[in-house]
């Protein structure tokens, strides 16, 4: 099917666009296979607004057919094509912007609305815009991605004695959501790994994700063990975990579910590492919200932010009721707990919940940011995301198909990555000099993950990306962000490298609504952006003077 089949009206003149922070403007609207283009016709200005259709989360249309009354309105009617009828399309974007288009002509309006509805949620990944995005200054042959398990392994020499690279998953047959190469204990051979994989949900056997240079302890992640109601055991799984802590008296398992939840999980074939079979591992439960509940939390928060007519009481009540900040608090304290195990207490840790593709990745990522200074630079942070989210198989396509406005029935959507960005923002607020990247980077990522010119966040895992040749046929976002002038823009001008752990405060008083994101289309967010510009120019001026 061609895109043009979905486009009955490609151009409409005399459309009025209303958008936040701008006066209404009149111009021409065009729709293409991937974009909505609005060209401002006002004299002297040639402003254009290009919106990826993929960025559109929901639309609302209302049409008025006033033909019957055209006699009354003949003087007012300004369109000679379809006198008396008009329509309005309200576009709600995944970046939380709300636009309104007043379109003359009912039919045009319905056609445009239909095209948007169809083209904004195409299911076929290879028809998505990243496969068509061909800017002049980029070549498809440039390097793709920032980190792989191989690269990670090579960088950490200390690992080599006890850990090895395994290609057991090179055909993705052992674990479809893992990369082809993973880091595992030296003494565990591939045959053993295959057996362990069968004992873990989705084949996600325990792999290394972080090595703490300061004390040689590690963080591993996996999915839940499939003990089931019969308390099945797996000697290979027990062995794998045993060898990880053979030089130590114990390790910690951080389970992102409550102790009731793990008992219930056994009934559906899942389970947990019991004390009797994993005697030297201590299990800690830190219940985290996931899935649909998290998506609904986002929906409620965005709804609350969108209504300025509330009084303060109602606003606070809705903010509380959304529970979003509670999720931020839980995620940061789970990460804090993990860091305490590894950095303070000097023990290795294994993290998992159910599938090990969501909350597990969230707290592993946050823990690394808190502990490891190399993850806090712009490049280090993007490489961390590459390893811990893309390589590790967070199902972006499923989780980010829709955002807070969509009326579509929820499937697998869940804003866990957005929650990560919010937590990172909280860290940045508390340690404004310790992170090498700016709030602008977090905002950019929050956009790109839902709708992008780049192929980075396409698909659900490495296997799918490989099958669609994403690395050969699209451009890499991370590489683009590291090029000048973007690199400067996304760097934190106040950054000072810092070897210590940055322990976040998780008191409710210390956590704030991420205004830059949730209120980004308000005047208030603009003022805060102006402050960041002011800071940047102060630092540039200071550098200029001191280096003269």
């Amino acid at each position: 099917m061609e895109f043009s089949d979905h486009i009955k009206t490609a151009n409409v003149e005399d459309v009025v666009l209303r958008q936040p922070l701008h006066p209404p403007s009149r111009g021409t609207l065009c729709i293409t296979g991937h974009h909505l283009l609005f060209s401002d016709r006002e004299e002297g200005s040639s402003r254009q607004i290009l919106l990826l259709l993929r960025n559109i989360d929901a639309i609302e249309k209302s049409v008025e057919n006033l033909l019957g009354y055209s006699g009354f309105l003949s003087k007012a009617a300004h369109s000679d094509r379809t006198p008396g009828s008009s329509g309005t399309i309200t576009i709600k974007c995944k970046d939380l912007r709300v636009l309104q288009l007043d379109i003359p002509g009912m039919e045009q309006c319905l056609n445009i609305a239909h095209s948007i509805e169809t083209l904004s949620c195409l299911d076929n990944v290879s028809e998505m815009y990243p496969f068509f995005y061909r800017p002049n200054d980029l070549s498809l042959r440039e390097q793709w991605g920032l980190s792989t398990p191989e690269k990670h392994y090579t960088q950490i020499k200390e690992l080599h004695k006890k850990w090895r690279l395994s290609s057991v998953n090179k055909t993705y047959s052992v674990c479809p959501s893992y990369p082809p190469v993973v880091i595992v204990p030296n003494s565990i051979d591939d045959e053993t790994l295959k057996k362990v994989a069968k004992f873990r949900q989705g084949g996600r056997f325990p792999v290394l994700c972080y090595y703490h240079r300061k004390n040689g302890m590690v963080i591993m992640r996996s999915s839940q063990p499939l003990t089931g109601a019969n308390k099945k055991r797996c000697k290979e799984d027990e062995l794998l975990l045993q060898v990880v802590i053979e030089d130590s008296d114990k390790g910690f398992i951080i389970d992102t579910r409550s102790s009731q939840q793990v008992q219930q999980a056994r009934m559906t074939g899942g389970g947990f590492e019991s004390k009797s079979c994993y005697s030297r591992w201590k299990r800690l439960h830190k219940q985290m919200e996931r899935g649909k509940a998290l998506q609904e939390s986002l929906i409620k928060l965005v709804e609350a932010c969108g209504d300025e007519s509330h009084n303060v009481d109602r606003w606070l009540s809705k903010l509380e009721n959304s529970k979003w900040l509670s999720h931020v608090q839980t995620a940061l304290s789970a990460a804090g707990l993990l860091v305490e195990c590894v950095e303070r207490d000097g023990h290795s840790a294994l993290v998992h919940g159910y599938e090990g593709t969501d909350c597990t990745l969230l707290i592993c990522t946050l823990a690394q940011l808190i502990m490891d200074p190399t993850c806090r630079t712009l490049e280090g942070f993007l490489a961390l995301l590459d390893r811990e989210w893309l390589q590790a198989g967070h199902p972006f396509q499923q989780r980010c198909a829709h955002s807070a406005y969509s009326h579509a029935r929820l499937q697998q959507e869940s804003p866990i990555f957005l929650l990560l960005l919010d937590c990172v923002w909280q860290l940045w607020r508390q340690f404004p000099l310790a992170l090498g990247f700016s709030e602008a980077l977090l905002l950019r990522l929050a956009n790109e993950v839902y709708a992008s010119d780049y192929g980075t966040f396409l698909c659900n895992n490495d296997q799918e990306r490989c099958a669609l040749e994403v690395k050969d046929r699209t451009h890499c976002l991370f590489q683009a962000l590291l090029r000048l002038p973007e690199r400067d823009y996304y760097s934190n001008p106040l950054y000072e490298p810092n070897e210590l752990a940055i322990w976040p405060s998780v008191h409710p008083q210390s956590l704030q609504l991420w205004r830059g994101f949730f209120l980004r289309w308000t005047q208030q967010a603009r003022h805060l952006e102006a402050v960041q510009e002011e800071i940047r120019s102060m630092v540039i001026e200071w550098h200029r003077v001191t280096q003269r």
């Binding site: 606070l316 903010l319 529970k323 404004p432 008083q509």
Partner: protein
Amino acid sequence: MEHIRLPKVENVRLLDRVSPRRSRVGTLYLTATHSIFVESEAGGRSETWVLHSLVCSVDKQAASASGCPLLIRCKNFQILHFSIPREQDCQDVHLSLQRLSQPQRYEELYCFSYKPNVDEEERRRDWAFVDLKADFSRMGLPNAQWKLSPVNQQYKVSDTYPAELFVPDSAAPPVLVGSSKFRSRGRFPALSYYSKENHLNAIANRAAGKGYENEDNYSNIKFQFMGIENIHVMRNSQQKMLEVCELRSPSMSDFLEGLESSGWLKHIKAVLDTGVFIAKAVAEGISVLVHCSDGWDRTAQVCSVACVLLDPYYRTLKGLMVLIEKDWVSFGHKFTQRCNHLAGDPKEVSPIVDQFLECVWQLMEQFPCAFEYNENLLITVHSHIYSCQFGNFIGNNQRERRELRVHEKTHSLWSYLWTNRAEFINPLYRQNHSQSQGLLRPSTAPYCFKFWRGLYNRFDRGMHPRQSVEDYLRVIREETQQLEEQLDSHKQKIAELKQEQGWSDAHRAAAFDQSSTARALGKNLALANTPQDYTGSLLASTPGAADGPLVLAPQDPDQTADPNLSNGSDPESGIADVSCRSPLSEDSARDPDPDPDSDEAAYSAA
């Protein structure tokens, strides 16, 4: 001194509110003006000073095996939780502090015994530092329409008004006296602010009245009722909010629900909404008369908020001082009663001036480049409004201050703040920034109102950001200025020396010497961090984990009181309350301290 039943108690524990294991043992000394807790640990690093005039309440709780708890709440929102071994000692300290913190007579207030090292001539000059006449002449007054009236010289027309008032030129004394008889406490309409900008008679006025004007009798006037609650509602609301701030480890929902049900932010919004309404009217050239029932609470709040919105001058350091002096001190906000300086009617106490300061803070959060002063200034002014260390906020009106001879016997806060202004300057302030120009147009959407952690949880250091952008920017801004000045002077010298050659080395060395400061500063800041309590529910589920959770690292044990408020003999050391919020304070140099008691007990809870 006769009020001190027990000058010294040993083996007192100062408990850490957030993490009980971090309590300290030491000796508590009671002096006439301060209570001082000195930690017995070797090194003697930590002293905690509490100024008695800042003490808001002292509560003795039921004794337990570990001692008798004594809870001291201060007006600057510091809370100290002592445990005293003997109940009798606790009782004595309790009674002493209750008496010491509630002076009966003005003469007992700290400002009359506070003697910093300032000579008499300087002290007098300091009082002249803020001059209201100068502010009125800044507004272009007197002029053809407005004149200075001598009618209240002897405080006979209104004993709560200042002696000097601006009134309409055509209003003869009999008219003013007539008007005053019709208004509560004789507070006839008088000029508060005159807008020179739009060359109209745009003014914000103030007056008092019980009841309100009958519209039929006032032509050309539109009434607007703004619905700000009374002092009792505000007092209760703040009380509720402070209870939320005090919760030991609240969940996010506990906190937000508590904040909502306190209603505090709703009241802040009401005050700001009214300020915005007045400011817009004045900016459009409409004069406004503002009053409430007496004209010294809500009226003072909204007039001063409107002034901050209208006039960039009041967003400068000096301007804020002038504004507080004008709308609050001179127009008779009843500081003694509202701030509970003397033992008096608890129903007269109300955080009206806190709300004004908070409105300014809320505006600063929206317009970070528009204010010359910073949050620290607001917090410091707040502290000193309550501390009674300076004479500015003593008494309920100008007449009382004159009778008390405050200007002869005490020191002024304003010049003190000015001397230390480096601490109070917002490095992001730009006079010519688009945010700084003319009328501020804040959003009053509900989500714009934030909880002011910096004030209400000021002493809970673990809650604040661990690194300060402001301190960093202040250093680089100073350095940039210095270097540019140096460069200018070097350019001059170059011109002079050019014939002689050999100039460049000196120049370079100078430039590079300087540039290291900010880098070093950044490093220091980076050190300030300690782990937090992340286990919450895990710990709560096992009260039996008696051998102690490892998760609670010692955290900033030296929560000293504001040294400025505590050290009467050395004003120059002041404003250290600012630095205790900043990561540059003494504790920042310490490494996060691994807890020697660490073990896995906390985790076994699971």
